[in-house]
């Protein structure tokens, strides 16, 4: 079946759930945090009917839920969410009645055994649905990190299938994709490099995160434009009842958060400012220089315009600066100064602002969302005054989406348009100056639905039309996600799968000769070449084998076509000359999570994840594993808590990235014919590569240990955290320069203390 025929079939499937029913009632509404009025996503709302049947829904990212086709009569409603006290009520519903509810949940110790009604909800470190993992602030806080507040990036690094360069660089490789193939959204705003130069931090501290939908592949039709993954971050709204905030002081990252009502009960604001003092405070204390400056500013205003509509404005800036090649150790001693290396000083920043309007009319079971954003990303490599390379992306994006609910089914349709101006200037000692400015437009539409085909099988067919108007190309992208509960929706097992076709119109061009070359120039695909394409196939199983033990396994395959990769140049210097490549990626993620076990006075939590992945690219002349190919990965997190004391340890292991071994140096003379006088031409120093990417760097592993003491005095909550990064002081390699044979190591043993005070 061709992609177009498949797309038509899926489009027909998406409209199936829209059916006419007149005699049933409908229950819908919002669920919020009782203290902060923050809308809660993923809350389970279940109706137990007189005949014993269950109907239910989970709130979406905006806290909205709809339960349709409710038989008139009496229904027992139960609203549950981890960390909140359950809410129960009895509803008496008339024929055709539409009951609008405003539900508020209060914080409480987490309750186990809740009924899961939403197929797509996938929370907990071991819980995944066809590539999707839903991450909440509580999940993030479970992962130890230097500093007192959690950060999304530290959590992501514990996930199998997610590789990073380590503790600096800000690059992530998700299930074999490059970092430029990840779609990162903050309240719908596209961000290009929101991960900080020190790898423990991103622009997403747990304090401002409400929910993250993390797709490692197989994402539905509402997402597109990237080949590998989606990190869709929804931020919190500020407290609408009272002012609250926090102050965190730690050398690696300190921050202030303030939130509160502007118009009590209706309009709120939240502001977060973070800055690192790693360079000023820690450089001397650990022996090595730590020349990194980073920080971010986040702000959001949220307003209920009416009972049916809300509007939020989100703004963010990030800044990163540093020398990722500081403290080099030469394999060759002092002689290495004879060759000039690429600069390792890099800077990047993001500035973005966006708005989101939500409308959920009482009279109709639909939900309308409109978003718009403007964004800018720029990066420089080299000296601050005269950078060797610069790249910039500016643009704006608009999207609108309507969701119609019908019983447990749902249809969602949307439109999007995005314009970006891409520019770069590249030049260094070894190459001619290259610069370019170009526009890249993308627009399209999608429709997808969630259909309960059978009682225990939900299918999510969808199709996306993704057009690149400036290049006169349009692609039809069929998608299908499914989830099956073999023992019923309340059973212990869950089987899920996803397939889809994806295109990416923007190419992140980096120097693939070395994974440590983190400078990325964004370019449009060459006019004469097709847009890069990927096909994903994912299948997974998850079992809750014991109330405290969840185990999951997920296999995946991605094919890659029309990739544009830089040619492999034997001369120092970045090249924008591209060659076409195809690729294939396959792998397996395994995880197990042990939660809420008590041992004497200790409450224990444990998580282990293993990821296997193989990435292979093929060009006309070469088949190779690109430098982000990491085959094996293990993550262990153990946490023990007694009273106000908590001990957390994390061990990470990653097998070595591929790299190109060297034969040595010689002199290259362009010996095109007898007219070239080789006895007088000095020639050009050349590094002699062995077979590209045939070598493997040493494995990476690190143990971090943290001890935290928390306390509370009335409205003031505090935490004091002390710990060590890289406890056994391993010389983990960050990257190895192919031209100077310098090795740059990751952080050595770094002790850290921090304190956080929070007023809630």
């Amino acid at each position: 079946m061709s992609a177009r025929a498949l797309a038509v079939t899926l489009a027909l499937l998406t409209v199936l759930p829209v059916e006419i029913s007149a005699q049933f009632a409908s229950v819908r509404g919002y669920v919020s945090d009782a203290a902060t009025r923050e809308r809660l996503a993923g809350v389970n709302v279940v109706l137990s009917l007189d005949d014993g049947d269950l109907l239910g829904a989970a709130t979406d990212a905006d806290g909205y839920f709809v339960i349709n086709r409710v038989p008139p009569g009496t229904a027992q409603m139960r609203v549950t969410f981890i960390g909140y006290a359950p809410l129960s009520d009895t509803l008496h519903l008339e024929q055709r009645e539409v009951r609008m509810l405003r539900l508020e949940l209060s914080l409480e110790e987490s309750e186990l055994g809740e009924i899961v009604v939403e197929a797509e909800a996938a929370e907990g470190a071991a819980t995944t649905v066809a590539g999707l993992q839903t991450v909440r602030p509580a999940d993030i806080e479970r992962v130890p990190m230097p500093g007192v507040s959690g950060d999304l990036v530290s959590y992501l690094q514990t996930m199998p299938g997610v590789s990073s360069l380590g503790d600096r660089g800000g690059q992530f490789f998700i299930r074999g994709g490059t970092s430029s193939q990840n779609d990162i959204l903050l309240d719908g705003i596209p961000l290009f490099q929101p991960f900080h130069i020190v790898g423990f931090y991103s622009a997403f501290p747990s304090e401002v995160v409400n929910k993250v939908d993390f797709y490692k592949g197989g994402f539905g039709a509402r997402y597109g434009g990237r080949l590998s993954s989606v990190i869709d971050v929804e931020t919190r709204n500020g407290n609408k009842d009272r002012f609250s905030g926090s102050v965190a002081l730690a050398p690696l990252m300190s921050g202030v958060r303030v939130e509160g009502p502007i118009v009590p009960g209706r309009v709120s604001a939240i502001v977060s400012i973070r800055e690192s003092f790693i360079e000023d405070i820690m450089s001397g204390s650990v022996g090595d220089k730590l020349p990194y400056r980073l920080g971010d500013r986040f702000g959001k205003v949220h307003a209920f315009l009416s009972d049916e509509a809300s509007l939020s404005i989100t703004g963010i800036t990030t800044h990163d600066e540093g020398d990722i090649g500081a403290n080099p150790e030469s394999f060759l001693g002092d002689e290495i100064s004879t060759i000039v290396a690429d600069s390792t000083e890099i800077r990047w920043s993001n500035q973005a602002i966006g708005g989101k309007f939500l409308f959920a009319p009482v009279s109709t079971p639909i939900h309308i969302k409109a978003t718009g954003s403007v964004f800018r990303y720029d990066t420089e490599l080299g000296n601050d005054d005269v950078p060797e390379r610069e790249a910039e992306v500016t643009g704006y994006k608009f999207a609108a989406e309507i969701t119609r609910f019908r019983g447990v089914n749902r249809v969602r349709a949307g439109l999007f348009a995005e314009r970006r101006e891409l520019s770069y200037q590249l030049g260094d000692a070894f190459q001619n100056f290259t610069s370019n400015v170009e526009d890249l437009d993308e627009a399209g539409a999608y429709i997808e639905s969630a259909v309960a085909v059978f009682r225990d099988l939900t299918m999510e067919p969808g199709v996306r039309l993704h057009a690149f108007p400036g290049r006169d190309r349009m692609y039809v992208e069929p998608r299908l996600r499914s989830i099956w509960f073999p023992e019923g929706r309340l059973g212990r097992h869950k089987v899920s799968a996803a397939v889809g076709i994806y295109h990416q119109g923007i190419i992140g061009l980096s120097d693939e000769r070395d994974v440590g070359n983190v400078f990325t120039a964004w370019v449009a695909p060459p006019d004469d070449k097709s847009v890069p394409e990927s096909i994903h196939a994912i299948a997974g199983w998850e079992g809750t084998l014991r109330p405290w033990l969840t185990v999951a396994a997920e296999g995946y395959f991605k094919s890659l076509e029309n990739l544009s990769v830089p040619i492999f140049s034997p001369f120092p210097g970045f090249t924008t000359r591209l060659q076409e490549a195809t690729g294939s990626i396959y792998g397996l993620d395994l995880r197990a999570e042990v939660d809420a076990i008590r041992y004497e006075n200790w409450e224990l939590y444990g998580y282990v994840g293993y990821g296997y992945s193989t990435v292979e690219y093929e060009t006309d002349v070469l088949t190779y594993s690109p430098p982000h190919d990491r085959r094996h990965q293990i993550n262990l997190v153990a946490r023990a808590r007694t009273g106000e004391l908590e001990l957390v340890a994390q061990w990470q292991f990653g097998s070595g990235f591929s790299y190109t071994k060297s034969i040595g140096f010689d002199v290259w003379i362009p010996f095109t014919g007898p007219d070239v006088d080789v006895s007088s031409q000095q020639g050009q120093t050349r590094v002699l590569f062995d077979e590209p990417y045939a070598g493997r760097l040493p494995a990476y592993h690190r143990l971090d240990v943290w001890l935290e003491k928390s306390f509370r005095r009335d409205r003031v909550k505090g935490a004091l955290r002390a710990g060590v990064v890289n406890l056994y002081d391993r010389d983990n390699l960050f990257y190895f320069d192919l031209f100077t044979f310098r090795r740059i190591n990751q952080l050595p043993l770094v002790p850290s203390v921090g304190i956080k005070l929070e007023i809630d």
Binding site: F653, G664, F665, D666, P670, P674, S679, G695, N732, L738
Partner: protein, 292 residues
């Protein structure tokens, strides 16, 4: 049991911590980079030798550390089995630094195969071989005559890659006493076929050019008194990788090299000058009188 488990975990982490993260990025087996060629029209020959090193070669002065080279260069005529030892010299290069150049003096024979060995004192050696092109007389294919053009192809069965092909036409008015040479440069024109290097000679274009160069009006009947083809041929392997001398392509280690256990290129060159007379019918079609 539990204590054993903990002890095992701690031991595993300890061992993991002690694992050596040292990396040696070098692979051995390539020893020298060589650039040079044999010229059958010369008796003095030279070859530039660059030792493959873990640090870039840098010889700012004759007494610099890299000024010494652990290498002996010999060449052997594999047809006659005669071996020559080449002489080392440190030559100043264009940028004022120095490079290792080895020289030798002998007669190079067309069609003979030569072997160059650059050997280190530990026995490690890089080897290159070249077969000197043997340019015999070209074979003329039948002329192709149409209403607006006349061409005739020539084929050199044993030629290598042409470095340059020139055709010298010598024309004079019928009954004239002397002719003047007009040179037409064909560069590297032609293509390699199963029969050899095939060059289509564009007679109509060339002879029009000759007439213009000599300044004869169209009505003057010319006699082609002589035609020489000068063919400079390179070793067959001395050709552009992927069809063009693109530095980013043929600068790749391993591209355009015939050096075993090394890099660079050692080739050979030969040249021949042959007289040739195009088909009489072709010349008449062009209004020329064939040579007597």
């Amino acid at each position: 049991m539990r204590r054993t488990l903990w002890a095992g975990l701690v031991a595993a982490l300890f061992l993991a911590g002690c694992e050596d993260p040292f990396i040696d990025p070098f692979v051995e087996g390539k020893h020298f980079t060589v650039y040079g060629y044999l010229n059958s029209f010369e008796i003095d020959h030279f070859v530039r030798v660059v030792p493959v090193r873990r640090t870039p070669e840098d010889i700012p002065a004759p007494n610099a550390p890299h000024a010494d080279i652990d290498a002996v260069v010999t060449s052997t005529n594999m047809t006659t089995n005669v071996t020559m030892r080449w002489t080392h010299a440190l030559k100043e290069l264009d940028d004022g630094t120095y490079g290792h150049v080895f020289t030798s003096r002998f007669v190079v024979r067309d069609g003979h195969r030569y072997r160059l060995v650059v050997q280190r004192s530990d026995g490690a050696e890089s080897v290159a071989e070249t077969t000197v092109p043997n340019l015999g007389a070209p074979i003329a294919l039948p002329a192709h005559i149409t209403s607006d053009s006349v061409t005739q192809a020539l084929v050199w069965p044993d030629a290598g890659v042409p470095e340059r092909i020139e055709i010298a036409y010598c024309a004079k008015p019928v009954g004239g006493f002397s002719c003047d040479d007009v040179l037409v440069d064909y560069g590297r024109a032609g293509k390699m076929t199963l029969a050899g290097w095939e060059l289509p000679v564009a007679l109509s274009r060339d002879l029009l050019f000759v007439r213009q160069q000599l300044g004869f009006a169209d009505e003057v009947v010319l006699e082609l008194s002589n035609l020489d083809i000068r063919f400079t041929s390179l070793d067959l392997a001395w050709d552009a990788p992927q069809g063009a001398f693109d530095p980013e392509v043929f600068g790749q280690p391993g591209a355009l090299t015939n050096v075993e256990n090394g890099f660079g290129f050692w080739g050979s060159l030969s040249r021949s000058i042959r007289s040739w007379t195009p088909d009489t019918e072709a010349l008449r079609a062009l209004g020329y009188v064939p040579p007597a």
